[in-house]
Symmetry: C2
């Protein structure tokens, strides 16, 4: 699956930078216009725009321009590829714990 | 939480490399000695050892030497910091879907 691995590469590289991760954390709450997104960061606007471009290229964010105002959003499902990969890395012990959990839920359903 | 962010930085940087990610994928199945771990990769042993050092510094793998043989394992809970961060990035819509799911499970428990 080269596409899956390329996507994962891009997402992990984008998230390995603390500024870009902070932008994703901020956008997970709700979309923001570029100026308010830039406000908390001690860097010039062109530097922040470059970070936004990396996030956009990695498929993590999308942006839309209305008049002179650009609004940036977290792309729905942006982090799915990372969820998927993490799920695949569950060790045999963790998988066994998962199965035990499912078994206990089935045989001892929670009382409500 | 600077420690949490430093850990996350190191883990994401380590995983952004396809070779290192392939090593983690391999070790999630079971531990391996260095020579068998190196076998599938088209690179000299010192290069692979350098990747292993990055993974070890990021707290993703541990290794133990018995005589002349070094065995490498995925550290239990190695990827927890990434699971935690991903969980925190759930958007309001996803959180609402979670709550709806919990509500439906409670009001319509699965028939067994």
């Amino acid at each position: 699956m080269p596409k899956y691995h390329d996507e994962l590469d891009a997402v992990l590289r984008a998230l390995a930078d603390p500024t870009r991760r902070a932008v994703v954390e901020r956008l997970a709450k709700f979309p923001a216009v570029v100026s308010e997104l830039a406000a908390p960061f001690p860097m010039a606007l062109p530097s922040l725009m470059q970070h936004l471009r990396v996030l956009e290229d990695a498929g993590l964010v999308t942006s839309e321009k209305h008049g002179r105002v650009r609004t940036v959003s977290l792309r729905p499902g942006a982090l799915d590829v990372l969820h998927l990969w993490l799920g695949e890395q569950r060790t045999p012990a963790e998988r066994q714990a998962d199965r035990l959990g499912i078994h206990l839920t089935r045989t001892h359903p929670k009382e409500t």
